[in-house]
């Protein structure tokens, strides 16, 4: 995190219960451990990474504004106020990697997919890529990385939502996902298993990819 070159602010929604003595306890199972990890990242970032923890109990207006229905939820919001990435997950194990890579790319680190995304941007309608994951899935980090980097390169056209369906099983059931990774583009096209960047981009465009080197 010490290599971050630009400031990044992440909004992390948790749930905090206030005890009789005034102390606060995080009510969601994964939130405590996840927040501890994020605070370590924040502490190692030379002030570049800011973690803004918002309890949905204390900040119902924020929860409503950002449509927060479950915790933890992490939001990457760009400087124009657009939501770029939403994590309905507390990334652990292999899922930490795409999460950290998203933080770096969000801060302006080189993004391999950026040139082609930008060349095809006028052919992409405002879109949402949902990636269903679990923390034990070997291929999920790769798909999550691609989706996150697409969103970051898209100047607000693409939003990515990463969903841990082990902790949000209702979402997995809603989309009939009995396997991961499970990628859904605009709530229409579902792709089961490992999927490469070209397949996701074609799904977004609805046609062939234009590329000029």
């Amino acid at each position: 995190m010490a290599k971050l070159t630009k400031p990044v602010n992440l909004k992390v929604f948790t749930s905090q219960r206030t005890e009789a003595n005034g102390s606060k306890i995080r009510a969601c199972m994964d939130c405590g451990q996840f927040m501890s990890l994020l605070r370590i990242y924040e502490g190692n970032s030379n002030g570049k990474l800011t973690i803004e923890e918002l309890s949905i109990d204390d900040n119902p207006e924020f929860a409503k504004r950002y449509d927060i229905q479950r915790v933890p939820t992490v939001l990457f919001i760009d400087d124009k106020g657009r939501e770029v990435i939403r994590y309905l997950a507390a990334p652990q194990a292999g899922e930490i990697q795409p999460f950290i890579q998203a933080i770096f790319a969000f801060a302006g680190a080189p993004n391999y997919y950026e040139a082609t995304i930008k060349q095809n941007l006028n052919r992409i309608n405002p879109s949402t890529i949902k990636v269903m994951i679990t923390n034990s899935c070997p291929y999920c980090p790769q798909v999550a990385t691609i989706a996150n980097l697409f969103a970051i390169a898209s100047d607000g056209k693409i939003r990515t939502i990463i969903v841990d369906i082990a902790t949000n099983p209702d979402i997995g059931q809603y989309y009939d996902a009995a396997g991961v990774p499970y990628t859904i583009v605009n709530d229409q096209k579902a792709i089961s298993g490992m999927v490469g960047p070209d397949v996701i981009l074609r799904s977004l465009i609805g046609g062939n990819i234009h590329v000029q080197y």
């Binding site: 290599k3 391999y112 070997p138 009939d176 396997g179 298993g193 590329v211």
Partner: protein, 315 residues
Amino acid sequence: MYNIEVGLPDPDKVFDMIILGGGPTALGCAIYAARFAMDILVIGKVYGGLIMTTHIVENYPGITSVSGTRLMEMFRDHINSLSIQYISDEIRSIEKEDNHFVLKSYFGKFKALTVLLATGSERRKLGIPGEEEFTGRGVSYCATCDGPFFTDKVLAVIGGSDSAAKEALFLAQHAKKVYIIYRREEIRAEPINKKRVYENKKIEIINNTNIVEIKGDESGVKSVIFDNGREFEVDGVFIEIGSDPNSILAKRIGVERNVKGEIIINRKSETNIPGIYAAGDVADSPFKQAITGVSEGVTAAYAAFDYLKNVKIEY
């Protein structure tokens, strides 16, 4: 994907070697090539390759027992320690231009004096009704990925290889019952895994049987139909019937392949095209293991290093 900051390389830069693949073969080659001070780039469709789905690896020397995912994390740490750049993408064309090769994907154009094809293999499909319809909804090719979704369920593993036996053993940790359905008389697993299968009370083998259809409804898989017409109730089907080499790109550029589609290599991992090497599951070696793939990849690194001495002088 495993370097934090990965951008598009300068399209005019000529690498010493571009390694296509993301498995142990490709990364083994990358480690040696980097140590030979070769300027390299690794482009892989799937980081880790098929071994990522292996829940337990017990035959990689020096490591008594490790999951495939963990093994590839160790490879990742190793390539990161050598600052090897890895890109998650698929090359769709290779052309010879002067003394180098030009590789193109939908996201980038790259140049290299040598290329290693370590593109691995892809899971074979049964090609029966219901397979595609229920993929991701009860039909799976990855027990490690999807096994936890089938806690206390009844599952079928199709196939009789060592991989199929290991999938069944992994799934038995979650499922109520696992049936190995195999077309021949006896499964072909390594003796150690065969013994484990036979001793596992949750696993039962149905021999001399093919499945001809997978049936289900909107909630997912409900049953399979055997070739004798019997309908057999299961909640999930894990298909492990081998794999086919990913050699289409090799075919397009005139690399010689055998009847199975495997790339023909010599003891230096050279193909028929000077400067193009192949190794691992995509090559024509009879015994395909992580360790043999690494060996062929490392051999390719050394052969390319040797080849480059002449090419660079001409250059």
